[in-house]
């Protein structure tokens, strides 16, 4: 691997840009393949470029045979994002745990006393209303949204805009009763039952979690599960390599 390649991989991550590094195993010749660009010694080989882009779509790294040469395709997709609405006590456990799981974490809360970097060291903190913040950051298919405020004024607009995006996970803290009321309120702004079914509520896996840290574990367990099932469904059945 060239030092420039290493720098390019790090840069791609910072920009949340997907890239596949293709390496010919016989001599370590390389190509960095993006969706709309390709660089490096192997960048002139159309077959390698096509295979690298296919791997990028499934998100699965693999070794392929191309014209008698073994080429390893290492896929680097941007890390999943977790947006936490509500800079509350549970968020103080959820944010660092999610960062440890290599989520790109953002905490959103319009209340200045809550949304401080002091309460959330090492993660992004945005002091704003969730719907405004979502618009600025752009929710995508590799994003999970969790609302924790218990306050309809803060949670509802967040859920409404999350439901109108293609985020892979939406979770909302609150009891079954709270959740049922939430459903009624959101119906008034045009969220159908079918749409609302995407919201995981009460949030998290049912592991009897009580403390903020335990609740954070149950939420992350559920997010990991949803994401893994989705990635499994996206990739073709496993074929044993020759």
């Amino acid at each position: 691997m060239k030092a420039e390649t290493l720098a390019a991989l790090q840069d791609a991550r910072t920009r949340r840009r997907a890239v596949t590094l293709a390496t010919r195993l016989s001599d370590a010749a390389e190509a960095l393949v993006y969706r709309d660009d390709a660089r490096g010694e192997l960048a002139g080989d159309a077959e390698i470029i096509a295979a690298a882009r296919r791997a990028m779509e499934t998100g699965k790294s693999e070794t392929v045979d191309i014209a008698g040469a073994k080429i390893f395709l290492n896929v680097y997709v941007p890390p999943p994002r977790l947006v936490i609405v509500g800079a509350v006590h549970i968020a103080q456990s959820l944010a660092p745990m999610a960062a440890m799981l290599e989520f790109d974490v953002t905490v959103v809360d319009p209340r200045g006393a809550w949304a401080t970097t002091q309460r959330f060291p090492g993660v992004k903190v945005i002091q704003d209303w969730a719907d405004e913040a979502f618009q600025a950051m752009g929710l995508d298919g590799s994003t999970a949204v969790v609302t924790l405020t218990h306050d309809p004024k803060l949670d509802d607009p967040a859920l409404e805009s999350a439901l109108k995006s293609d985020v892979f996970y939406i979770g909302a803290l609150g009891s079954r009763r709270t959740h049922a009321k939430r459903k009624e309120r959101l119906a008034e702004v045009g969220i159908t039952d079918e749409m609302f079914a995407r919201v995981h509520g009460p949030v998290g896996l049912n592991i009897g979690a009580k403390s903020p840290a335990e609740i954070a574990v149950s939420i992350l367990g559920q997010i990991i599960e949803v994401r893994a099932r989705r990635l499994e469904a996206m990739s073709a059945p496993k074929v044993a390599a020759a």
Partner: protein
Amino acid sequence: MSDALEVLDQVGRWKADGKGVAVATVIVTWGSSPRPVGSQLGVDDAGNMVGSVSGGCIEGAVVKEALDAIKDGKPRLLDFGVTDEQAWDVGLACGGKVQVFVEKVN
């Protein structure tokens, strides 16, 4: 794969410090191997490691090859095809097999 990014960061820091560095990557797995394809282990010229290519079983052998790769600059393809008798020697006790590519960072 996201942990590969942590490996690349550390490898980048070693490189910036002027150290010789190699990266080992799991490129093929068969059976129940402990780490998925794309998992990486970074090694510096003093034998320091970051990341993993197994559950800790083959890292020793991989580091040895990585140190050689740092010296001679040649890439290496390592097979850890583990039979039952070998399992406890090389250490993939789960019976999985992996192929690991080792290359120097130039």
